[in-house]
Subunit: 278 residues, 4 copies
C-alpha cells in the first residue's frame, strides 16, 4: 500500500504468512468478474472459499476457482453451510483434496464453521470444539469461527485451533462489533503468554468503520464477505475495507490519546482498558 | 494514495480546492520536525495554523511557519485562543496580513473559532455568528467552528460561512462523534438545495475510527490535531488518519449494507436514516 | 409513592416546590379523559399546558383546562408552537392572564419554547436568550427549553432563567439522551457554586429507561409528553414513567458501583466522570 | 407496590410463582442486618443464596440463613463458586438437603452456575449443559446462568432448564446489557412456540437503568446482587432497583413510541426489532 506499512509485521497464522490483515470471502457477488476485481481491490492475499459443491459451481456451470488466480492468493477453504461436526470434517477433507489438486498452499488449513441454526447462522460451540479436535488430529491447521464468548474461544484454542475467529455480530448482519468487551477478554485469554496467537474478527462487518474499530481493539485481522459483496458499489467498498484495515492497525500500534469529558479535564474519562500495542 | 480515489471529486470550499479531505493542525507537537513529518504523512494539502503570536513562535524563538513548506500546503489561518468576536476578527485580519506577506493562497480565508470557556473550549454560538458576519463583510471566506446544534449551524451558513464545522465532541477530548443524530440533521439543513456545501467535522477526533465514522455520515471532510500530535506515535497515527479518511469517504460513496438483527431477517433493523451518496 | 422517597428533597424551581420530579404535558392524547387518567398515574403534581388557543380548545369545542383539576396540579404554561421571541413573549403573557383568571399558582412562571424550525422543532438559541431576558424583566420565572449545548445553557441561566431544560433529543423523537457528555457539562456549568439550581431534561424521552438514565446523570427532573401520550397503552406507560423517575433519582443518590471489564479487574473501566450525589 | 401492577401476570418459573420480577442475592453486604433490610426494600420475594459452606457462615460464625425470614421468601439455592459440573451437582444436592431441613419451598430448584475462570467468573457452556442434564434427571428445576450466546441458551433449554439466565455482562462488572442484540435472539429462540418460558437476565447489572433496559427488551425478570450490595447506599439502591423493575416491565407492556431522527420524520429510525408485548 505504501512504505509506512512495511514497518508492521506480517500476519502469521500457523505456517502461513499473510501481508494483508484483511481476509475476504467469495460469496454473494453479482458475477464472478465483479468478485475477481473486488478481491483485487481489497488488497487481500488470502481468500476464503466455501467448499460445498453447490457453492463452487454457479447456475451457468462456471467453477468459482477458475476465476481466482491461485498463484496469487492463498486459498482458505471453509466449511460454510455445515451444521454438524461430521459434515464439517467431511467438507474440510474435500477442500483439502481440491486444493491439493490445485497445488495451492491452502490445502493444509481450513476455516471451520459449524453452524447451529439456518435462521441466524450462529456457530455451534460444542460441535465446533469437537470438529476442531478431529481436524487438528487429522493434520489440519484450523481457523475456527466462534461466538464472542471468551470461554468458548479459549476452549477452541485448547482444542488446537491455529486461530480463533470471534464474530463481531451475526453473519451478514452488518452490525459491526456489538460487544467490544467480549473481544477484549478474548484477546486477554488467547494472547495470555502467547502474544502472537492470531485472533481474527469474522462476521458482522457492515462498513469500513467496523473494520477499523475491530483492528483498534488489537485483533490481528478481519475476515468479511457480505459487507463488500452486497454494497451498492462493491469495488469502492473493497477499497474502503483495504484502507480501513490499515487505518485500524496503525491506530492500534500508534497508542491513541485518552478519552476525556473535555480537554482540560484532569483525568481521562475511559479507555483505560484499551489494549496497548506491545 | 492510489488510483481508486481519483474517481472521487476534490473537496471544494469557497474558492479553494483540496485533494485531501483531511485537514490537520500544527499545535501540540513535541517538535517542529515531528510536526513536519506528521503533516506529510497525513496526506493533507491544507494545514491550519493558529495566528496568535504566542502560538507561532516557540520557546526557542523558532517560527512555526519556517517549518511548513508554504508552496506545498494551503495554509488555513485560525483564531484559536480567541474568546470574543472582536478578538477573533482582529486575529483573522492579522493572519491575512501574515499570509499575504508569505504570498500564500490561504490569505483570503480563515477558520473561525470564537470560544466561550477556557475550561471546555466549547464555541460561543452568538459571538461566532457575529464574527462570521463581520469577517464575511470584510471579504473573508469563513470556515466556522461550531457546536453540533443544527440550528446554530444553519445560522452560521446564513451569516455567510463558506463552511460550517460542527464539533464531534469537545476539542482535545478524543471522544469522536458523540451525537451522530445531530450531524445528520446538520447535513440535512446545510445541504438542503445546496448539496455541495462543505460540512467538516472539527474537533473531538481521538482515533482512526472516529474519522471513518464521521466520513461515513456524509460529511465532506475532517479537521483534527490532538489525535495525531498527542498519540504515542504521531507518525503512524498520521498514516492511520490518512487511511481512515479514505476508508470513510469510500464507504459513504459505496452504499453500505443495511443492519439486521441477523442475516435472514426479513427487514433491516436500522440504518434507514443513513444519508445515501448523491 | 412509598416512604423511602420521603427522605429525598422536593424539587424547587424558583418559588415553586414540587413533590414529583416528573413533569408531564397534555398534548397528543386520544381523548381528554385518557389524558386526565394518564396525568394522574404519572404521579406528577406539575402539568405543562400549551397556551396557544388552538391547543386549548379541541375540535368539539372542549377546553383542555376543564379536564385538569387546577386545585390539584400546578399548571406550567408553555409557549409551544412559537417561532420568535415576540410570539413567545406574547403567548407567555396570555398564559399568565388565563392562569390568573383560574387563580392557579402557575401564573407567575412559564416554560419558554422558542423553536427555530417546524420540521425538527429544535430550539432557537438566540431568540430563546432574548425572550428569556424580556420575560424575566416582565416578572416571569422562566424555565427555558434549550439544546444540550452547555454554552447556550449557561447563557440562558445568565439571562435569568429559573431553570434550564436541555433536550435529550429532538421533541417527539423518542431517542432518549443522545449525548450524556453534554448533559454532564451542562450540570457542571449550571450547578457550579449553585448546586440547587434546577436542571430538567425536556424532550426526546421515548421510554422508561430514558427517564432513568437522565435522572442517573444527576438532573433534577424530567419533562415529557409524547412518550406517554403516544404509547400503545398510555396508562401503563404513565405508571412506568413514574417508577422510572423514582428509580433514576434513587440510583443517583445511591452511588452506583463502578464499571469494570470484569469483576476482579484491579481498576474501574469508566464511570469516573459520573457526577456523585452531594 | 401499587394497584397498577396487579394487572400484570406473576412470574412463573417451573412450579414456582413469584410476585416480583426482581430476584436478589445475599452476597457482599457489609453486614447481615444491612442485607436483610436491603432484601426487604428490593421488593423481591425470591432470594438466591450461595450454598457453599464458606459463604453461609461468616467470620463471626453467624449463619446467613438465620438472617433471612424463610417464611417470607422463597429461597433459590445457587452453586456460586463451582468450577465443574461435578462440583455444581454436589453443591446443588447439598442445597436441597439444607432447604428440606428448613422446610423451604426452594428445595426443589437451583440456580446453576458452573464457572470457567476465577478471574472473569464467566460461565462454562459445556459444563453448564452437562450439569443441567444431570440435575434435571435428579428431579431439580434448574435455572441456568449462561453467557448471552443464543445457541448456548437454546441448548440449556433443550437440556431441560426451567429458565435460562443470560448474563448482561460479567458478574460484578456493572456494565449492564452489553449486547441487546443477543438478548433479543435469546428471547426469539427460547420463547419460540413457548411464550411463557421464563428468561431472566442474571449478572452485570450496575444501576437502575440497566434493569429497566433489560426488562424493556422483554425478559421476564432480572437477578442481581453486587449492584445493590456494593452501592454506596444499598438501601436506597434496593428501592431504586425495585422501581426500575416495575418501570421496565410496564414500559415493555405499554408499547413504546418508535425512535425517529426527529418527530416529523416520515419513517421511524430504528426500534423496529423491539419485541412487542403479547
Amino acid at each position: 500500500m505504501s512504505t509506512d506499512l512495511l514497518t508492521d509485521e506480517p500476519l502469521t497464522i500457523g505456517s502461513h504468512t499473510l501481508r494483508s490483515r484483511l481476509i475476504v470471502g467469495t460469496g454473494k457477488y453479482a458475477s464472478y468478474e465483479l468478485m475477481g476485481e473486488s478481491l483485487h481491490r481489497s488488497g487481500a492475499d488470502c481468500i476464503t472459499v466455501a467448499v460445498r459443491r453447490e457453492r463452487l459451481i454457479d447456475a451457468a456451470g462456471n467453477n468459482l476457482l477458475d476465476f481466482i488466480d491461485a498463484s496469487r492468493y492463498t486459498l482458505l477453504p471453509n466449511t460454510a453451510g455445515c451444521f454438524s461436526a461430521d459434515d464439517a470434517v467431511r467438507v474440510a477433507r474435500l477442500g483439502r483434496e481440491i486444493l491439493l489438486g490445485l497445488e495451492n498452499a491452502g490445502a493444509d488449513w481450513v476455516k471451520l464453521e459449524v453452524l447451529a441454526d439456518k435462521k441466524t447462522l450462529l456457530p455451534d460451540p460444542v460441535a465446533s470444539i469437537e470438529a476442531t479436535e478431529r481436524l487438528v488430529a487429522d493434520g489440519f491447521q484450523v481457523l475456527c469461527y466462534s461466538s464472542d464468548d471468551p470461554i468458548t474461544a479459549r476452549r477452541l484454542k485448547e482444542a488446537g485451533a491455529s486461530s480463533v475467529m470471534p464474530a463481531g455480530s451475526p453473519i451478514g448482519s452488518g452490525q459491526g462489533i456489538l460487544n467490544p468487551n467480549n473481544i477484549r477478554i478474548c484477546l486477554e485469554y488467547l494472547k495470555d503468554g502467547d502474544p502472537d496467537y492470531p485472533v481474527i474478527v469474522d462476521a458482522g462487518v457492515g462498513t469500513a468503520s467496523d473494520v477499523t474499530i475491530a483492528m483498534e481493539l488489537g485483533v490481528d485481522g478481519v475476515l468479511l464477505n457480505t459487507g463488500i459483496a452486497h454494497a451498492q458499489d462493491p469495488l469502492r467498498m473493497a477499497d474502503a475495507m483495504r484502507y480501513a484495515t490499515a487505518a485500524g492497525r496503525l491506530a492500534y500500534l500508534s497508542g491513541r490519546i485518552p478519552k476525556r469529558l473535555y480537554a482540560t479535564a484532569s483525568s481521562p474519562e475511559e479507555g483505560t482498558i484499551t489494549r496497548q500495542p506491545r
